[in-house]
């Protein structure tokens, strides 16, 4: 028989109490303990019991994967035998290595949490509102939208996010497609079906760089293949007729190369100046103010350092704890965004309703 352990204090605040004790959910809920990803408020999809995360609109990720696999498949099947015979055996080896690297980078970009910030708990939200609303007026007015702070002696405006109910940290932006605030938000990429942010930017960068190499490599090999064939006494048309798959590859590679190489170049520039696509597009640090002092406050003013920090810096952990268990004494509010809830002991503005349960809350209502 499960023992009802009534705990006053939010068990998550105490690391001494093992989480497993709560996950043997006692009492009223006859359902199994739920993991946090199941009650996640953003528009995301989860696989493998919370280990993998994807945006709900996965965009054209299947198309991206399909194109890469099909092109490489055709390459290995039709071009490689000829090239191995006439050139070198390293061609499929290099092609294979590039292909594996591209696919792994792509999957890592798509299925990694980009740096989603969990929404503010109701207590936090109430505290922020109280701090802003210091005039003490009883009428509820929406909090001001910005707060200014100094970063490296430069003024930066922090915006208030109404969905997540917090002031966004610098470089954080709210993605409307995924309905999440993402740290160091770069952009939402439909090709990988996920946002690109702090935690998966390096995977995205490796993906586009390796993809550039892969497409250029395949393009070059196919050209070499057709050239070699037509040199052996046959005409170009005949060579193409012998190997029609090469034409398909040529077309795909030709059109991809322009965009992929362009994108790689653009992102290399962003990495070297420690900017995000979002900041670059909005022109946050350039030109607008004209003065010399308003440069990028996050840049180290050294290309090598910027590159190393962005690509080889430490990877922060995922903040949304997908696989943790929802503590049993929590109520999932219908309208509210936060999935974590605590005793409402103060705040009239708290839009959470609290179920009466066996735990003794009588004194918490003294507020």
């Amino acid at each position: 028989m499960k023992n009802c352990e009534y705990q006053q204090i939010d068990p998550r605040a105490l690391s001494v109490s093992p989480l497993s004790a709560q996950s043997h959910t006692t009492e009223k809920k006859e359902q199994r303990p739920r993991r946090k990803w199941e009650v996640f408020p953003g528009k995301n999809r989860f696989f493998c019991d919370g280990r993998l995360i994807l945006a709900r609109q996965s965009g054209v990720l299947p198309l991206t994967l399909g194109l890469i696999v099909v092109t490489c498949g055709l390459f290995f099947a039709f071009d490689c035998p000829f090239l191995v015979k006439h050139l070198t055996v390293f061609i499929p080896v290099i092609g294979g290595a590039l292909f594996v690297f591209v696919v792994i980078s792509l999957l890592r970009t798509s299925f990694t949490d980009p740096g989603i910030l969990p929404r503010a708990t109701p207590d936090e939200a109430a505290d922020i509102e109280r701090q802003i609303d210091t005039s003490g007026s009883s009428t509820y007015r929406p909090p001001p939208r910005t707060k200014e702070i100094l970063i490296n002696q430069q003024v930066v405006k922090l915006k208030y996010c109404f969905t997540c109910k917090m002031f966004r940290p610098p470089r954080t932006s709210h993605c409307s497609l995924c309905d999440n605030c993402v740290e160091r938000f770069d952009h939402h990429c439909p090709w990988v079906g996920n946002c690109v942010g702090k935690r998966n930017y390096r995977f995205f960068y490796s993906f586009i760089i390796s993809l550039s190499f892969l497409t250029s490599f395949i393009f070059g090999c196919v050209i070499a293949h057709i050239t070699l064939r037509s040199q052996a006494g046959k005409s170009l048309v005949q060579a193409i007729q012998e190997s029609p798959a090469s034409v398909v590859e040529l077309v795909i590679c030709f059109f991809s190369i322009w965009s992929i190489l362009g994108l790689s170049g653009f992102h290399t520039y962003l990495v070297a100046s420690n900017l995000t696509t979002n900041e670059d597009i909005k022109g946050s640090w350039s030109g607008k103010r004209g003065a010399e002092e308003s440069g990028n406050p996050y840049s180290y003013n050294n290309i090598i350092t910027n590159c190393c920090v962005t690509l080889c810096g430490p990877v922060p952990p995922s903040l949304i704890d997908r696989r943790g268990f929802v503590p049993p004494d929590e109520v999932i509010p219908a309208a509210s965004s936060a999935s974590e809830m605590e005793l409402p002991h103060f705040s009239a503005k708290n839009d959470v309703n609290m179920e009466e349960n066996c735990q003794d809350f009588s004194l918490s209502c003294t507020a």
Partner: protein
Amino acid sequence: MATEFHNLQELRRSASLANKVFIQRDYSEGTACRFQTKFPSELESRLERTLFEDTVKTLNTFYAEAEKIGGQSYLEGCLACATAYLIFLCMETRYEKVLKKIAKYIQEQNEKIYAPRGLLITDPIERGMRVIEVSIYEDRGSSGSSSGSSSVSGSTAR
């Protein structure tokens, strides 16, 4: 020590949550993780300022260590890239190791310093690294907790 830990258990059973104070992030040096060391006024009656500042400063040092960019982190990054990031499946990153140290430190601080004063610190990782949440508890036996009211804006400097 036995007495403090005993207090932590008692805190669980006999105290009720009265208020929460949130220590916000300090962005003056960039986006690295740092918390403000300003002493919140709600804790004046409960806690010595130096103890609080020590805790926050130590936490800041831990986070700086986790996010330090230097030889070791570059090595980790390059190794990860070379193995197509598969190495993270078997290895723990330095950040995760430091986070474990932080969790232990916070637990220790709670047991030794905060619980005997009726306070509890929540690990910032559980709040998305946005705030350090300090919960203030009232002994249930004491009636009429005035702490519920307070629309005091947090941490005004003294």
